[in-house]
Amino acid sequence: MNLYALMFYATAVLIIASTVLAVTRRQAVHSVVFLVVSFLGSAMLFYLLGSPFLAALQVIIYAGAVMVLFLFVIMMLKAEQGEEKGFAKRFWAPGVLAGFLFFAAACVAVFSDPSGTVPLKLNAVTPKEFGRFIFERYWLAVELISLLLFLGLVAGIHLGRDKGRGEEDPE
């Protein structure tokens, strides 16, 4: 086991542990903070898997912008009583059983395939190569993504307007 493999497994343990903590917290703010750790871990994983550019984007967009947006909305909602009704108890056992069966079947499928045990080769891609590739082959998809982001902006502004509330119940 070389250094890269060691770093991969350490990062994987970090990601899984922080994601489990994020999923099980009662307070949404705590879970967002654990999720930032998880996304920083996957940024490190992207770096390890050969893309420093996507690692930087993961830190900036996911761990930075998206999580701050979550924190803002949690603060605006002010509905944190911590009395969230859990999942009904009688569904836990079948759910966990089905999850483990699915996981076992997926592991068998992955490792019985010959490509599942091929060790990955290290390969780092510079942002320049990546940008050339994206804008030569996938320029249409990039334009569509930018259109989608614009639509997200419009939808956010439209839904976020306080229209109609003043007429129904003025506070």
Partner: protein, 101 residues
């Protein structure tokens, strides 16, 4: 050189399943949206590993698109949650029962 491809896929699967658990088991719309984010992150990890296995750049290109889609989805989703909260005063999806017959 580094780890087998299967280990990356298993890691991606575990992340995805954790997100799915969060979506199904939590009764808070914010946590449901966080679960969707975790699932998208798991898919991105799988794409990264596949791109490295076949030594192609398509995997990384799709990770970039997943990032864009996740950002849009979060902004629209949070706007919808705020809208629903203003209407009903709750973020528990079980209380949205206006259409119930």
């Amino acid at each position: 050189m580094i780890v087998p491809y299967g280990h990356v896929l298993v890691l991606a699967g575990i992340i995805f399943c954790l997100g799915l658990t969060c979506v199904v088991a939590r009764r808070n719309l914010i946590m449901v949206l966080i679960g969707v984010e975790i699932m998208l992150n798991g898919a991105a990890v799988a794409f990264m590993g596949s791109g490295l296995l076949w030594q192609r750049l398509e995997g990384q290109a799709f990770v970039l698109f997943i990032l864009g889609i996740a950002a849009t989805e979060v902004s629209v989703g949070l706007a919808l949650i705020l809208h629903a909260y203003r209407r009903s005063g709750s973020v528990d999806p079980d209380t949205y029962s206006v259409l119930k017959g």
